[in-house]
Symmetry: C2
Subunit: 248 residues, 2 copies
């Protein structure tokens, strides 16, 4: 016979558990309101400080939001990747995850998304991609910010076509973390116009591969593009970590 180690359970943890359960089970839907702190206090039979600590934890997890003065009470939020983003960012900053690993992960995710998109795309999807590419083309003359927006939009279409929200969210999060990690080095973005043209050409290639349902080709293009754009920021000795992903 073996026993499990026990940890004392704090009152605020019990409160968190119950509210969290209600949200996860769908009993509390996004947009709905929790009772006020004073009301929760009587419902749970604990003091207000306990309630407040519980709400703080839930707020840190991006599950609820409180605004002072609002008589409707704390708001239940829709599940968002914000908390995921924060914790991933923290990990990366703590140097447990370097740029090489992040880029590796992104190549895997982006490559897979492109592969799936190429294999699963319908004719409607192709129309959408054509439109997205067109606004990128227009964006070139409208400045970098506009082009960047169109670029993100293109990726979102790809993501939707691949039909896997997990893939999409993860890629977005990792993308964000990568950009934050190198934003200082990115300042001196030299010769933006030629950069935009390169990107445009790459997206056109990708679209061709998707149009001809060439999953492997699209995946490889996507990974290669990521490598070409970001490998320079990865310490030279770690670049071999990325190479295996580029082999066809």
């Amino acid at each position: 016979m073996r026993f499990e180690p026990v940890a004392p359970v704090r009152a605020y943890e019990r409160v968190v558990e119950q509210i969290e359960q209600a949200v996860i089970s769908g009993e509390l839907k996004p947009g709905e309101r929790l009772p006020s702190e004073r009301e929760l206090m009587t419902q749970f039979g604990v003091g207000r400080s306990t309630i407040r600590e519980a709400l703080r934890v839930l707020q840190a997890a991006e599950m609820i939001r409180s605004r002072p003065g609002d008589p409707r009470g704390p708001e239940v939020l829709a599940a968002s990747p914000a908390a995921l983003h924060r914790s991933m960012h923290r990990l990366a900053r703590a140097n447990h995850v370097g740029l090489a690993e992040l880029l590796q992960f992104r190549m895997i995710l982006d490559g897979s998304a492109h592969l799936l998109a190429a294999e699963l795309r319908t004719d409607d999807d192709l129309t959408g991609l054509d439109a997205a590419l067109e606004s990128m083309r227009e964006g070139v003359s409208r400045g970098y910010a506009e082009f960047s927006r169109a670029d993100v939009a293109f990726h979102e279409v790809i993501a939707r076509i691949s039909r896997n929200p997990l893939l999409v969210i993860s890629e977005e999060v990792v993308r964000g973390v990568v950009l934050e990690l190198i934003e200082d080095k990115l300042e001196r973005a030299s010769n933006r116009t030629s950069l935009m043209r390169t990107w445009l050409a790459h997206h056109a290639e990708v679209l061709d591969a998707i149009r001809s349902a060439d999953g492997a080709g699209a995946a490889h293009l996507a990974k290669q593009a990521l490598y070409d754009n970001y490998a320079e920021y990865v310490p030279a000795e770690q670049r071999p970590l990325l190479a295996p992903l580029l082999r066809p």
Copy 2:
């Protein structure tokens, strides 16, 4: 000229920021102690409840740990993937991600991990894998629980060899969610011995591929094994979503 929207900054947020910054910058190293709540109270010039709410947030982020009675104060923790784990878990459950998407994601992650492992493995790694396979072989006769543990251990070795903690963590999380989703159907696990033999054979194959540095082969084996084992639980009309990942 444009103005940014402003959000009121709470006192406890300022406290969180300062402590977080001290941890990130390395000024506070893991294992070190924060001053006691009452001491922090005077240092920050705020009430104890404010301090406590800040500590709760940091604790939810797995950055510190408080134990009542400890005169040394709250402990600074090493950065751990636990927070990432939690938020990914929450997101997967909240977004109503289906088994098909989860399995897809897992095939991608596991496949990539095996590919990287095959390409990056050293001779030492091979020794470790041999040992892990051996304990799986022993596990067959010792019952399913033991075998299962050895199986997990084998995967952990693979994960370590692939040298990407992000990949590992994500795969673990998705694995957990998948198991939760089908645990009820898994009860009637018929003929466990033959199941274990099948798994063992599969792992031996994978090890061969890794030994011969055949990344594509190892990846394909991993994905195929996942498909063979779990596809039956995926609704038939969604199985085509998984097929593109199996093409060599």
